[in-house]
Protein backbone atom coordinates (compact mmCIF):
# COMPACT_ATOMS: atom_id res chain seq x y z
CA UNK A 1 0.00 0.00 0.00
CA UNK A 2 1.24 3.43 -0.87
CA UNK A 3 1.61 6.37 1.47
CA UNK A 4 -0.17 9.64 1.00
CA UNK A 5 2.16 12.07 -0.76
CA UNK A 6 -0.51 14.63 -1.65
CA UNK A 7 -0.92 17.97 0.10
CA UNK A 8 -4.22 16.86 1.72
CA UNK A 9 -4.58 14.44 4.63
CA UNK A 10 -6.53 11.22 4.86
CA UNK A 11 -8.07 10.39 8.23
CA UNK A 12 -9.86 7.08 8.74
CA UNK A 13 -12.43 6.28 11.43
CA UNK A 14 -12.74 2.58 12.11
CA UNK A 15 -14.80 0.51 14.47
CA UNK A 16 -17.95 -1.58 14.62
CA UNK A 17 -21.41 -0.21 13.89
CA UNK A 18 -22.72 1.96 16.70
CA UNK A 19 -19.32 2.87 18.13
CA UNK A 20 -19.92 6.61 17.69
CA UNK A 21 -17.69 7.29 14.68
CA UNK A 22 -20.28 9.35 12.82
CA UNK A 23 -20.84 11.79 15.70
CA UNK A 24 -17.12 12.42 16.05
CA UNK A 25 -16.62 12.87 12.30
CA UNK A 26 -19.32 15.52 12.18
CA UNK A 27 -17.85 17.39 15.14
CA UNK A 28 -14.35 17.24 13.68
CA UNK A 29 -15.60 18.37 10.29
CA UNK A 30 -17.26 21.47 11.81
CA UNK A 31 -14.15 22.29 13.81
CA UNK A 32 -11.85 21.94 10.80
CA UNK A 33 -14.01 24.32 8.82
CA UNK A 34 -14.11 26.82 11.67
CA UNK A 35 -10.32 26.61 11.78
CA UNK A 36 -10.34 27.42 8.06
CA UNK A 37 -9.42 24.05 6.57
CA UNK A 38 -11.12 22.48 3.61
CA UNK A 39 -12.62 19.20 4.78
CA UNK A 40 -14.77 16.57 3.11
CA UNK A 41 -16.26 13.39 4.46
CA UNK A 42 -16.99 10.12 2.76
CA UNK A 43 -17.74 6.58 3.84
CA UNK A 44 -17.55 2.94 2.91
CA UNK A 45 -20.16 1.87 0.38
CA UNK A 46 -20.39 5.38 -1.05
CA UNK A 47 -19.34 4.80 -4.63
CA UNK A 48 -21.94 6.28 -6.98
CA UNK A 49 -21.39 3.43 -9.35
CA UNK A 50 -21.44 0.45 -6.99
CA UNK A 51 -23.15 1.36 -3.70
CA UNK A 52 -26.68 0.73 -4.93
CA UNK A 53 -25.71 -2.68 -6.27
CA UNK A 54 -24.19 -3.64 -2.92
CA UNK A 55 -27.35 -2.53 -1.17
CA UNK A 56 -29.55 -4.55 -3.55
CA UNK A 57 -27.35 -7.60 -3.20
CA UNK A 58 -27.45 -7.29 0.59
CA UNK A 59 -31.23 -6.99 0.50
CA UNK A 60 -31.44 -10.08 -1.69
CA UNK A 61 -28.85 -11.81 0.47
CA UNK A 62 -26.97 -12.83 -2.61
CA UNK A 63 -23.42 -12.12 -1.44
CA UNK A 64 -21.04 -14.91 -0.51
CA UNK A 65 -17.95 -14.19 1.60
CA UNK A 66 -15.84 -13.92 -1.55
CA UNK A 67 -18.16 -11.68 -3.52
CA UNK A 68 -18.72 -9.62 -0.34
CA UNK A 69 -14.97 -8.95 -0.13
CA UNK A 70 -14.51 -8.28 -3.82
CA UNK A 71 -17.43 -5.92 -4.31
CA UNK A 72 -16.45 -3.86 -1.27
CA UNK A 73 -12.89 -3.68 -2.58
CA UNK A 74 -14.29 -2.44 -5.90
CA UNK A 75 -16.30 0.15 -3.99
CA UNK A 76 -13.18 1.33 -2.14
CA UNK A 77 -11.17 1.54 -5.33
CA UNK A 78 -13.90 3.60 -7.00
CA UNK A 79 -14.19 6.03 -4.05
CA UNK A 80 -10.42 6.30 -3.87
CA UNK A 81 -10.02 7.16 -7.55
CA UNK A 82 -12.97 9.49 -7.87
CA UNK A 83 -13.37 11.14 -4.47
CA UNK A 84 -10.44 10.69 -2.13
CA UNK A 85 -7.45 11.25 -4.39
CA UNK A 86 -8.84 14.30 -6.20
CA UNK A 87 -9.65 15.86 -2.80
CA UNK A 88 -6.20 15.08 -1.43
CA UNK A 89 -4.59 16.55 -4.52
CA UNK A 90 -6.56 19.73 -3.93
CA UNK A 91 -5.31 19.86 -0.33
CA UNK A 92 -8.49 18.81 1.46
CA UNK A 93 -8.66 16.92 4.74
CA UNK A 94 -10.61 13.76 3.89
CA UNK A 95 -12.49 12.05 6.71
CA UNK A 96 -13.62 8.52 5.89
CA UNK A 97 -16.09 6.53 7.93
CA UNK A 98 -14.91 2.88 7.74
CA UNK A 99 -11.95 2.17 5.56
CA UNK A 100 -9.57 -0.72 4.98
CA UNK A 101 -9.38 -1.99 8.57
CA UNK A 102 -13.14 -2.53 8.57
CA UNK A 103 -12.75 -4.62 5.43
CA UNK A 104 -9.84 -6.59 6.88
CA UNK A 105 -11.72 -7.33 10.09
CA UNK A 106 -15.03 -8.22 8.43
CA UNK A 107 -13.59 -10.34 5.65
CA UNK A 108 -11.37 -12.32 7.98
CA UNK A 109 -14.26 -12.99 10.36
CA UNK A 110 -16.15 -14.22 7.27
CA UNK A 111 -13.41 -16.78 6.78
CA UNK A 112 -11.16 -15.22 4.17
CA UNK A 113 -7.44 -15.64 4.47
CA UNK A 114 -5.60 -12.60 5.96
CA UNK A 115 -3.08 -12.54 3.19
CA UNK A 116 -5.69 -12.68 0.46
CA UNK A 117 -7.68 -9.74 1.84
CA UNK A 118 -4.65 -7.59 2.49
CA UNK A 119 -3.30 -8.21 -0.99
CA UNK A 120 -6.70 -7.34 -2.41
CA UNK A 121 -6.40 -3.84 -0.94
CA UNK A 122 -2.88 -3.33 -2.18
CA UNK A 123 -4.13 -0.52 -4.44
CA UNK A 124 -5.38 1.50 -1.45
CA UNK A 125 -3.69 4.43 0.24
CA UNK A 126 -2.60 4.31 3.85
CA UNK A 127 -4.32 6.96 5.97
CA UNK A 128 -2.28 9.64 7.72
CA UNK A 129 -4.20 8.89 10.91
CA UNK A 130 -6.53 6.05 11.86
CA UNK A 131 -8.85 6.29 14.84
CA UNK A 132 -10.29 3.09 16.20
CA UNK A 133 -13.45 3.33 18.28
CA UNK A 134 -13.47 0.69 20.95
CA UNK A 135 -16.83 -0.35 22.34
CA UNK A 136 -18.87 -3.32 23.52
CA UNK A 137 -21.76 -5.01 21.70
CA UNK A 138 -24.20 -3.85 24.40
CA UNK A 139 -23.09 -0.26 24.10
CA UNK A 140 -23.22 -0.21 20.31
CA UNK A 141 -26.67 -1.76 20.31
CA UNK A 142 -27.76 1.07 22.64
CA UNK A 143 -26.36 3.58 20.15
CA UNK A 144 -28.04 1.94 17.20
CA UNK A 145 -31.39 2.15 18.97
CA UNK A 146 -32.81 -1.23 18.13
CA UNK A 147 -31.61 -4.48 16.66
CA UNK A 148 -34.12 -4.05 13.84
CA UNK A 149 -31.89 -1.26 12.49
CA UNK A 150 -29.14 -3.78 11.83
CA UNK A 151 -29.19 -5.54 8.47
CA UNK A 152 -28.55 -9.21 7.75
CA UNK A 153 -24.87 -8.86 6.84
CA UNK A 154 -24.01 -6.21 9.44
CA UNK A 155 -25.27 -8.64 12.04
CA UNK A 156 -23.11 -11.36 10.53
CA UNK A 157 -26.17 -13.52 9.89
CA UNK A 158 -24.60 -14.92 6.70
CA UNK A 159 -21.81 -16.49 8.76
CA UNK A 160 -24.22 -18.60 10.76
CA UNK A 161 -23.30 -17.72 14.37
CA UNK A 162 -26.90 -17.89 15.42
CA UNK A 163 -30.31 -17.74 13.76
CA UNK A 164 -31.22 -15.05 16.26
CA UNK A 165 -30.42 -11.56 15.01
CA UNK A 166 -29.34 -10.06 18.32
CA UNK A 167 -27.24 -13.03 19.35
CA UNK A 168 -25.58 -13.15 15.94
CA UNK A 169 -24.89 -9.40 16.09
CA UNK A 170 -23.27 -9.73 19.50
CA UNK A 171 -21.09 -12.63 18.45
CA UNK A 172 -20.12 -10.97 15.17
CA UNK A 173 -19.16 -7.76 16.96
CA UNK A 174 -17.02 -9.55 19.52
CA UNK A 175 -15.20 -11.36 16.72
CA UNK A 176 -14.70 -8.08 14.86
CA UNK A 177 -13.35 -6.43 18.00
CA UNK A 178 -10.89 -9.29 18.32
CA UNK A 179 -9.74 -8.75 14.73
CA UNK A 180 -9.33 -5.00 15.25
CA UNK A 181 -7.13 -5.66 18.27
CA UNK A 182 -4.95 -7.95 16.15
CA UNK A 183 -4.67 -5.34 13.41
CA UNK A 184 -3.07 -2.96 15.88
CA UNK A 185 0.22 -4.80 15.45
CA UNK A 186 0.45 -3.95 11.73
CA UNK A 187 -1.45 -0.68 11.51
CA UNK A 188 -0.78 1.90 14.14
CA UNK A 189 -4.08 3.39 15.18
CA UNK A 190 -5.26 5.61 17.96
CA UNK A 191 -7.85 3.98 20.14
CA UNK A 192 -10.82 6.06 21.21
CA UNK A 193 -12.82 4.76 24.13
CA UNK A 194 -16.46 5.16 23.19
CA UNK A 195 -17.45 5.11 26.87
CA UNK A 196 -15.74 8.48 27.33
CA UNK A 197 -17.95 11.56 27.06
CA UNK A 198 -18.38 12.83 23.49
CA UNK A 199 -16.49 16.07 24.19
CA UNK A 200 -13.55 14.25 25.73
CA UNK A 201 -13.29 11.93 22.71
CA UNK A 202 -13.42 14.94 20.41
CA UNK A 203 -10.66 16.74 22.31
CA UNK A 204 -8.33 13.79 21.91
CA UNK A 205 -9.16 13.52 18.20
CA UNK A 206 -8.53 17.23 17.60
CA UNK A 207 -5.23 17.06 19.44
CA UNK A 208 -4.02 14.22 17.23
CA UNK A 209 -5.36 15.80 14.02
CA UNK A 210 -3.63 19.11 14.82
CA UNK A 211 -0.37 17.25 14.68
CA UNK A 212 -0.71 16.48 10.95
CA UNK A 213 -2.40 19.68 9.78
CA UNK A 214 -0.35 21.86 7.47
Amino acid sequence: MRKNTYPGKLIAFEGVDGSGKGVQINLLMDWLQVEGYGAVQTKRKNSKLIAQTIQNAKNNRSLSPITYSLIHAADTSDILAKNIIPALQAGFIVLINKYILTSFARDVVRGSEHYWVRQLYDFAMLPDITFYFKTTPERSLENLGSISNVDFYDAGMDIGFSPQLEKSFTMFQSQLTGQFELLHADFKFITINSFDPVQQQQQLIRKVVKGVLP
Binding site: L49, S62, D122
Partner: protein
Protein backbone atom coordinates in the same frame (compact mmCIF):
# COMPACT_ATOMS: atom_id res chain seq x y z
CA UNK B 1 -30.69 -19.04 -9.90
CA UNK B 2 -31.71 -19.01 -6.28
CA UNK B 3 -28.94 -18.89 -3.75
CA UNK B 4 -29.48 -20.04 -0.25
CA UNK B 5 -27.13 -19.32 2.53
CA UNK B 6 -26.74 -22.71 3.99
CA UNK B 7 -23.77 -23.32 6.24
CA UNK B 8 -22.25 -25.51 3.60
CA UNK B 9 -22.14 -22.72 1.05
CA UNK B 10 -20.32 -20.53 3.53
CA UNK B 11 -17.96 -23.36 4.22
CA UNK B 12 -17.35 -23.88 0.52
CA UNK B 13 -16.71 -20.21 0.11
CA UNK B 14 -14.28 -20.21 3.01
CA UNK B 15 -12.34 -23.00 1.44
CA UNK B 16 -12.12 -21.04 -1.79
CA UNK B 17 -11.03 -17.83 -0.12
CA UNK B 18 -8.32 -19.65 1.80
CA UNK B 19 -6.25 -20.24 -1.30
CA UNK B 20 -2.85 -18.71 -0.70
CA UNK B 21 -1.34 -16.97 -3.72
CA UNK B 22 2.01 -17.55 -2.08
CA UNK B 23 1.64 -21.17 -3.05
CA UNK B 24 1.48 -20.22 -6.73
CA UNK B 25 -2.28 -20.38 -7.19
CA UNK B 26 -2.79 -23.90 -5.79
CA UNK B 27 -6.27 -24.37 -7.21
CA UNK B 28 -5.09 -23.48 -10.67
CA UNK B 29 -2.44 -26.13 -10.48
CA UNK B 30 -4.39 -29.15 -9.36
CA UNK B 31 -7.37 -30.95 -10.88
CA UNK B 32 -10.76 -30.04 -9.50
CA UNK B 33 -12.59 -32.76 -7.57
CA UNK B 34 -15.96 -32.41 -9.32
CA UNK B 35 -17.70 -34.90 -11.58
CA UNK B 36 -18.35 -32.49 -14.46
CA UNK B 37 -15.95 -30.98 -16.97
CA UNK B 38 -14.93 -27.37 -17.29
CA UNK B 39 -13.91 -26.24 -20.76
CA UNK B 40 -12.70 -22.70 -21.34
CA UNK B 41 -12.06 -20.63 -24.46
CA UNK B 42 -9.72 -17.67 -24.38
CA UNK B 43 -8.40 -15.17 -26.88
CA UNK B 44 -8.55 -11.47 -27.73
CA UNK B 45 -11.75 -9.75 -28.85
CA UNK B 46 -12.51 -10.76 -32.41
CA UNK B 47 -10.61 -14.05 -32.24
CA UNK B 48 -13.81 -15.97 -32.95
CA UNK B 49 -13.85 -17.94 -29.69
CA UNK B 50 -17.46 -17.13 -28.84
CA UNK B 51 -18.62 -18.27 -32.28
CA UNK B 52 -16.77 -21.55 -31.85
CA UNK B 53 -18.06 -22.09 -28.35
CA UNK B 54 -21.67 -21.56 -29.37
CA UNK B 55 -21.35 -24.10 -32.20
CA UNK B 56 -19.74 -26.55 -29.78
CA UNK B 57 -22.52 -25.95 -27.27
CA UNK B 58 -25.20 -26.78 -29.84
CA UNK B 59 -23.27 -29.82 -30.97
CA UNK B 60 -22.96 -31.21 -27.45
CA UNK B 61 -26.61 -30.51 -26.80
CA UNK B 62 -27.58 -32.34 -29.97
CA UNK B 63 -25.62 -35.32 -28.68
CA UNK B 64 -27.60 -35.21 -25.43
CA UNK B 65 -24.70 -34.18 -23.25
CA UNK B 66 -25.73 -32.17 -20.20
CA UNK B 67 -24.02 -28.90 -20.99
CA UNK B 68 -24.26 -25.25 -19.98
CA UNK B 69 -22.61 -22.15 -21.32
CA UNK B 70 -21.48 -19.23 -19.17
CA UNK B 71 -20.18 -15.94 -20.47
CA UNK B 72 -17.79 -13.37 -19.03
CA UNK B 73 -19.54 -10.53 -17.26
CA UNK B 74 -22.97 -12.16 -17.08
CA UNK B 75 -23.62 -12.49 -13.34
CA UNK B 76 -26.87 -11.22 -11.94
CA UNK B 77 -24.93 -9.54 -9.17
CA UNK B 78 -22.74 -7.01 -10.98
CA UNK B 79 -22.88 -7.35 -14.75
CA UNK B 80 -25.27 -4.39 -15.02
CA UNK B 81 -22.96 -2.16 -13.00
CA UNK B 82 -20.01 -3.14 -15.15
CA UNK B 83 -21.95 -2.38 -18.30
CA UNK B 84 -23.06 0.96 -16.91
CA UNK B 85 -19.53 1.84 -15.77
CA UNK B 86 -18.17 0.91 -19.18
CA UNK B 87 -20.80 2.91 -21.00
CA UNK B 88 -20.05 5.98 -18.93
CA UNK B 89 -16.34 5.36 -19.35
CA UNK B 90 -15.71 5.80 -15.67
CA UNK B 91 -13.98 2.62 -14.51
CA UNK B 92 -10.43 2.92 -13.25
CA UNK B 93 -8.13 -0.09 -13.85
CA UNK B 94 -8.46 -1.40 -10.27
CA UNK B 95 -12.22 -0.93 -10.13
CA UNK B 96 -12.48 -2.61 -13.54
CA UNK B 97 -10.47 -5.56 -12.29
CA UNK B 98 -12.27 -5.93 -8.96
CA UNK B 99 -15.73 -5.72 -10.49
CA UNK B 100 -14.89 -8.39 -13.00
CA UNK B 101 -13.49 -10.53 -10.19
CA UNK B 102 -16.79 -10.10 -8.35
CA UNK B 103 -18.70 -11.14 -11.44
CA UNK B 104 -16.47 -14.14 -11.91
CA UNK B 105 -16.67 -15.22 -8.25
CA UNK B 106 -20.44 -14.97 -8.33
CA UNK B 107 -20.68 -17.18 -11.41
CA UNK B 108 -18.06 -19.60 -10.13
CA UNK B 109 -19.84 -20.17 -6.82
CA UNK B 110 -23.38 -19.84 -8.09
CA UNK B 111 -23.24 -21.48 -11.51
CA UNK B 112 -20.00 -23.20 -12.46
CA UNK B 113 -19.20 -25.22 -9.34
CA UNK B 114 -22.80 -26.36 -8.68
CA UNK B 115 -23.03 -27.49 -12.33
CA UNK B 116 -19.70 -29.33 -12.11
CA UNK B 117 -20.82 -31.03 -8.92
CA UNK B 118 -23.93 -32.21 -10.73
CA UNK B 119 -21.72 -33.68 -13.45
CA UNK B 120 -22.48 -31.16 -16.17
CA UNK B 121 -20.14 -29.97 -18.87
CA UNK B 122 -19.51 -26.26 -18.35
CA UNK B 123 -18.39 -24.22 -21.34
CA UNK B 124 -16.93 -20.90 -20.23
CA UNK B 125 -16.48 -18.06 -22.66
CA UNK B 126 -13.43 -16.44 -21.01
CA UNK B 127 -12.09 -17.30 -17.58
CA UNK B 128 -9.68 -15.79 -15.06
CA UNK B 129 -6.98 -15.76 -17.74
CA UNK B 130 -8.86 -12.95 -19.47
CA UNK B 131 -8.41 -10.87 -16.35
CA UNK B 132 -4.75 -11.81 -16.11
CA UNK B 133 -4.18 -10.68 -19.70
CA UNK B 134 -6.34 -7.55 -19.72
CA UNK B 135 -5.73 -6.17 -16.28
CA UNK B 136 -1.99 -6.63 -16.60
CA UNK B 137 -2.14 -4.95 -20.01
CA UNK B 138 -3.89 -2.12 -18.10
CA UNK B 139 -0.78 -1.91 -15.91
CA UNK B 140 -2.26 -3.54 -12.83
CA UNK B 141 0.34 -5.39 -10.79
CA UNK B 142 0.43 -9.01 -11.94
CA UNK B 143 0.74 -10.47 -8.44
CA UNK B 144 -2.17 -8.34 -7.29
CA UNK B 145 -4.45 -9.49 -10.12
CA UNK B 146 -3.61 -13.14 -9.60
CA UNK B 147 -4.19 -12.84 -5.88
CA UNK B 148 -7.62 -11.40 -6.59
CA UNK B 149 -8.53 -14.50 -8.59
CA UNK B 150 -6.82 -17.08 -6.41
CA UNK B 151 -10.18 -18.63 -5.49
CA UNK B 152 -10.53 -19.96 -9.07
CA UNK B 153 -10.43 -23.66 -9.92
CA UNK B 154 -8.45 -25.27 -12.70
CA UNK B 155 -10.37 -25.96 -15.93
CA UNK B 156 -10.08 -29.35 -17.65
CA UNK B 157 -9.02 -27.63 -20.84
CA UNK B 158 -8.29 -24.10 -22.02
CA UNK B 159 -8.48 -23.49 -25.77
CA UNK B 160 -6.57 -20.44 -26.83
CA UNK B 161 -7.71 -18.87 -30.09
CA UNK B 162 -4.67 -17.33 -31.60
CA UNK B 163 -5.19 -14.56 -34.13
CA UNK B 164 -3.24 -11.52 -35.36
CA UNK B 165 -4.62 -8.25 -33.95
CA UNK B 166 -5.24 -6.78 -37.41
CA UNK B 167 -7.45 -9.71 -38.41
CA UNK B 168 -9.39 -9.48 -35.14
CA UNK B 169 -9.99 -5.79 -35.81
CA UNK B 170 -11.16 -6.52 -39.36
CA UNK B 171 -13.67 -9.04 -38.02
CA UNK B 172 -15.05 -6.66 -35.42
CA UNK B 173 -15.17 -3.77 -37.90
CA UNK B 174 -17.45 -5.76 -40.19
CA UNK B 175 -20.36 -5.22 -37.84
CA UNK B 176 -19.43 -2.46 -35.40
CA UNK B 177 -16.72 -0.13 -34.15
CA UNK B 178 -14.59 -1.42 -31.27
CA UNK B 179 -15.86 -0.37 -27.84
CA UNK B 180 -14.11 2.05 -25.49
CA UNK B 181 -12.61 -0.49 -23.09
CA UNK B 182 -12.09 -3.10 -25.80
CA UNK B 183 -9.80 -0.60 -27.54
CA UNK B 184 -8.16 0.30 -24.25
CA UNK B 185 -9.10 3.95 -24.81
CA UNK B 186 -8.85 4.42 -21.03
CA UNK B 187 -5.11 3.81 -21.38
CA UNK B 188 -4.76 6.94 -23.54
CA UNK B 189 -2.52 5.08 -25.97
CA UNK B 190 -3.97 6.91 -28.94
CA UNK B 191 -6.86 9.23 -29.72
CA UNK B 192 -7.86 7.09 -32.67
CA UNK B 193 -10.01 4.14 -31.47
CA UNK B 194 -8.76 1.83 -34.22
CA UNK B 195 -5.12 2.59 -33.57
CA UNK B 196 -5.72 2.29 -29.83
CA UNK B 197 -7.37 -1.11 -30.39
CA UNK B 198 -4.29 -2.39 -32.19
CA UNK B 199 -1.91 -1.06 -29.53
CA UNK B 200 -3.92 -2.29 -26.57
CA UNK B 201 -4.89 -5.69 -27.95
CA UNK B 202 -1.26 -6.31 -28.92
CA UNK B 203 -0.39 -5.90 -25.25
CA UNK B 204 -3.21 -8.28 -24.30
CA UNK B 205 -2.02 -10.74 -26.91
CA UNK B 206 1.52 -10.74 -25.57
CA UNK B 207 0.14 -11.40 -22.06
CA UNK B 208 -1.78 -14.39 -23.45
CA UNK B 209 1.38 -15.67 -25.13
CA UNK B 210 3.19 -15.56 -21.80
CA UNK B 211 0.50 -17.75 -20.24
CA UNK B 212 0.38 -20.48 -22.91
CA UNK B 213 3.04 -22.55 -21.21
CA UNK B 214 2.28 -21.65 -17.62
CA UNK B 215 -1.36 -22.75 -17.82
CA UNK B 216 -1.01 -25.34 -20.63
CA UNK B 217 -3.31 -23.63 -23.11
CA UNK B 218 -4.28 -25.66 -26.17
CA UNK B 219 -3.66 -23.29 -29.09
CA UNK B 220 -6.12 -23.16 -31.99
CA UNK B 221 -5.23 -21.37 -35.18
CA UNK B 222 -8.07 -18.87 -35.32
CA UNK B 223 -7.25 -17.77 -38.86
CA UNK B 224 -8.59 -21.07 -40.23
CA UNK B 225 -12.12 -21.33 -41.67
CA UNK B 226 -14.82 -21.68 -39.01
CA UNK B 227 -15.68 -25.31 -39.72
CA UNK B 228 -12.03 -26.41 -39.64
CA UNK B 229 -11.49 -24.80 -36.25
CA UNK B 230 -14.67 -26.45 -35.03
CA UNK B 231 -13.44 -29.83 -36.19
CA UNK B 232 -10.21 -29.44 -34.22
CA UNK B 233 -12.10 -28.21 -31.20
CA UNK B 234 -14.57 -31.11 -31.24
CA UNK B 235 -11.81 -33.70 -31.57
CA UNK B 236 -10.06 -32.38 -28.48
CA UNK B 237 -13.24 -31.90 -26.50
CA UNK B 238 -14.43 -35.45 -27.20
CA UNK B 239 -11.09 -36.79 -25.97
CA UNK B 240 -11.46 -34.82 -22.77
CA UNK B 241 -15.02 -35.98 -22.26
CA UNK B 242 -13.98 -39.60 -22.71
CA UNK B 243 -11.21 -39.17 -20.21
CA UNK B 244 -13.67 -37.69 -17.78
CA UNK B 245 -16.13 -40.50 -18.31
CA UNK B 246 -13.49 -42.92 -17.16
CA UNK B 247 -12.54 -40.89 -14.14
CA UNK B 248 -16.07 -40.54 -12.83
CA UNK B 249 -17.45 -43.73 -14.36
CA UNK B 250 -19.99 -42.18 -16.63
CA UNK B 251 -21.22 -38.81 -17.66
CA UNK B 252 -24.83 -38.40 -16.66
CA UNK B 253 -26.93 -37.75 -19.74
CA UNK B 254 -29.87 -35.44 -19.85
CA UNK B 255 -32.28 -38.31 -19.41
CA UNK B 256 -31.03 -39.39 -16.03
CA UNK B 257 -30.82 -35.91 -14.59
CA UNK B 258 -33.76 -34.03 -13.20
CA UNK B 259 -34.50 -30.84 -15.08
CA UNK B 260 -31.90 -28.37 -13.85
CA UNK B 261 -32.47 -24.69 -14.20
CA UNK B 262 -29.04 -23.16 -14.32
Amino acid sequence: MVKLFSESSVYESKKLANAKPDQKLPRFMQEHPYAGKLIVVEGIDGSGKSTQLKILYNFLKSKSYPVILTEWNSSKLVSKVIKKGKKKEQLGPETFSLLHATDFADRLEGTIIPALKAGLIVLADRYAYTAFARDIARNCNSRWVRNGYSFSIKPDAVFYFKVPVKLALDRISLTRTPKYYESGMDMKLSKDPLESFVLFQSKVLSEYEKMVKEFSFIPINATLPIHEQQKLLREDVMLILKKKAKACEKIPTRENLLPLKV
